[in-house]
Symmetry: D2
Subunit: 319 residues, 4 copies
């Protein structure tokens, strides 16, 4: 048995130094956060591993856009799975609109009158949605829209975004496929439908299955960082279930709890019974706000891997 | 100010008697649960109100199937919005497979070897998935599959199920539309894709928007019982946002918390800023396990409304 | 393996009928709530079992006073362990002051100006505290205050309360000892200190140990319903730890979670490693708001045990 | 309105640099964590402010001992309020026993047989408790035990500990008073009782009130970092309530939620209605595992205050 050594903190300490202190120094959440970094580092350095990043929750309003882009641009992720709302918020910012700081206990009736939509302690003005509609209509008009998977559609859209400070654009530039099975459930999805009333947008949502299952089948090893629950978490697990071989590395960050039985709060242990996570996998559940844990993990990884250039997996649909 | 009267309990007390005691008797969660029943009762008795029921989380494994069917068969719901996993579990049981009782701390490696998939304290054998695939292929072969919305597809499927003890069948029999924007993210969705490789299943996922938005536009008043978060919660809110008029009645039951900013834990107050919930709405957040709260709400409503036959809303796509 | 039978709900259903439906019908929280009733029923009918009830959280403001008194008066509890705040709120109401209904999102600055103290969605006027001080000073003057344990002090105080609608009074009337290791941390404790400046109140807080440990030692079997965490939960566990023999029946109701490592959220499984709960114990963790779960459990027990008069354990310090 | 700037992360980034990025960069939990550091920094630099640190939860097993000692030794805290369990764990380590790393899903029956007590993912061998009893008996024999408050007792005990790597010792060396209203509810308290059967330990628990209320009265300004809930949180709030003037700075770190009404999860907003927190206070609720948040806050403060030597408040009882 290894003793708890107690976390030692000093001034000008780097994030990675703190995370390393937590490895043998701390129990509870801190130790798990430290394990998450260790697992991710191993995943990065395992050339066989394909890395999936799932993102749910309002992470763009929450200020995580650059962090997510950094995961992509540093080749720390091969496949992105997210929600329609994430892409909607990303597009809003790509088109020049902003999210703003607010407070959790603002008067929502007054905000409604002012046209400010609240996301906990963040505000998003109505004008962003008006602008989104206009800009999407323009950009859809310039895109080459043929029969395609949603993944291919996001790639085309990403390539057509001028603003490089965007998840969709960074993913396209780096050939990181984006899967979004819940795209229909978003303002973005609503505008796709709206545009499709007069023009053809022949997106086949079900084709995502083939593409992600192919990736899973062809990957000798697989790892995932699961941020939040919902459809993105479920979809990567589904790909594992269908291919009959679970994740070799698995990290989840969530504040949901397991007892009510929903997939969002389900433990990674439970996923072993399904073979969604392999029984020999390195895995850890981090119960933490993603806006706290994710930048910490990234800061630590950037430090540890500064001399290790990971090569991203290539997928045939980009050939 | 009204004083807290303290809940009085007696033997053979009915659920509704307890809920009524909680109205003036209790604070915290009990009072909110009591308010939820009062709001739902008012919603049932308001002839102008269209009622949306959103369902997320593993409620069929959790034993809520009959409760959900009762909501449908008692005309307490006009529109159902759910997840692909919910429909998958419903189909599994419709085809004669079962969920079983387990424990939360079972050994997941052993379960995996035995082919038992764990959902917290519930088990689902692998054979159910094998059976599902076979039966779906058969049933797809008998269906009249033309260009259609997912809602229309679920209606056709529901009509083709022999087993009346099914959410899909009950919804079809009662002409309650089912929306499922995340259908692609499920084993059911995977089998749709799989079947579509050799046969045509021309489902247009984006058409759901038009249908739910039309319903929202045409309803003089709107109410929702939101069970769990995720896509179903977001989709009904989206329909309100797009139509520019929020819910007049809103109840949510969740164990997720608001602080991390995700939609699943977001308060109904926050939804007022978005006009997803009207500022004059009757609304309440119930922080409770759905398997506890939902049967209680139903038991109370059945008692209160036993002499009130609600007439379900009719939608043009059934004509 | 037993199949999940699905909860069947009907009008005028009693609470106990619903709880019985949840036994084989439901998973997740509902099944656990049903198990809690089964375990408590068995505990009541096991003549060897001494029953401990621990109470933390603002249960008097939350409207649970009558429910708690019913547990006492029906002989469902032999030993009560609670917080100083619980006794403070009980005294406030025993002296004729009230708690009032409010809302969770009231303006706290305005409440402060109005002299209304908020406890989530409940309000307590400042005047209650002024009255408490006056009445406690009076009542202390009439009491026979000799060297005693806190348990003995609460018994004397309870006997001196005129209002029968009080936990302290009911416990005294029924010779249910109250332990309150955190008494000092309360307004009540502050007034004890205050009074002791001019008069002698020779309470020995540490004597509680002997008394509860003696009870634990002399009980052939032991069971506990643990409502909330904190000192009350810890103190009953401590008595088990010291006597070297864990609880034979254990039920906890809490909304706290285990991962941060605090005792309040710790699982009953964990308590097995400490021998605070026996490894053969019947035990269940119910993750639920106490104001919802506790009246349900009581309603069910009253129905099941209406023909079973449990005889309370007698303790030597009442002789 | 200030826009959300998105957190920028880079390699070798210090903890403080990350926290500063979160200030304008992030929403949700990250922004609140950043505010916590800003508020604490202001509190340190405000010469009028007396700083209270409350500690609940198993923070010594969780590896936070050095962090807590650093808060004391850097003069970042004037008054410590904690639980009996915290002092018990601190004494166990002061006497040379250790906590060990384990896993959350270990078999608790096997652990019980091996004499290993589990605290979530941390283990504590039974031998530590045997050693504690022996060493406490020895050390009590050497102490000058006269009529005293618990605070004075902890001071005497701390001075008699040889091991400097102890919270009790560091607090004594730095004349930081420790208040522990729940001392009786701990193994440490049990040994005090046990020793008192043959020797006099005339501790007056209620005297803590006078001492903390005096400190509150004499402090021109007051601030608190509240780690976890329970008695420590309640006791500092009580001191404010009694003196009629709330905290000027307030930070709480907790994973408990507010809706069930207990004090541990209660928001700092709610505390304003009670005047436990002043309506003009700078305050923030951080919903996070303490083992993650507390070292981050310390690392950031050490960096920001490396050239600012705070002078600790002096209290008359040390004269």
């Amino acid at each position: 048995m290894k003793e708890v050594k107690h976390v030692k903190v000093y001034n000008d300490m780097t994030v990675d130094e703190l995370i390393k202190e937590m490895r043998e120094g701390a129990g509870f959440g801190a130790r798990r956060l430290s394990e998450a970094v260790d697992i991710y580092e191993e995943m990065i350095k395992d050339e066989d591993a394909t890395i999936f990043l799932t993102l749910a929750g309002a992470l763009v309003p929450g200020g995580m856009k650059k962090v997510i882009i950094d995961f992509i641009e540093n080749n720390y992720v091969d496949v992105l799975i997210t929600t329609g709302a994430m892409l909607t918020h990303d597009l809003i910012e790509a088109f020049g609109f902003k999210h703003f700081h607010g407070r959790a206990n603002m008067n929502d009736e007054e905000l409604q009158i002012k046209g400010l939509n609240r996301i906990y302690n963040i505000l998003l003005p109505n004008e962003a949605y008006i602008g989104l509609e206009k800009r999407l209509e323009e950009i859809f008009g310039t895109m080459d829209l043929k029969e395609m998977s949603t993944r291919a559609f996001f790639y085309e859209l990403g390539k057509n975004l001028e603003n490089k400070n965007s998840i969709l654009r960074a993913a396209a530039d780096n050939e990181v496929p984006i899967f979004c099975p819940g795209i229909s459930d978003s303002v973005f999805g609503y505008h796709i439908w709206s545009y499709s009333q007069l023009h053809s947008i022949p997106i086949n949502i079900f084709n995502e299955h083939k593409e992600i299952v192919d990736i899973a089948f062809e990957s000798p090893k697989k790892g995932a960082l699961i941020c939040g629950g919902g459809v993105p978490k479920h979809f990567v697990a589904l790909a594992m279930q269908v291919t009959g071989k679970g994740l070799d590395y698995a990290i989840q960050i969530t504040m949901d709890r397991p007892e009510p039985g929903g997939v969002s709060g389900a433990s990674l242990n439970e996923a072993v019974s399904w073979n969604k996570v392999d029984k020999n996998a390195r895995k850890v559940d981090v119960i933490c706000d993603i806006t706290i844990a994710l930048p910490i993990i990234l800061a630590s990884l950037l430090t540890r891997c500064k001399n290790h250039k990971r090569i991203k997996k290539k997928f045939e649909f980009y050939e």
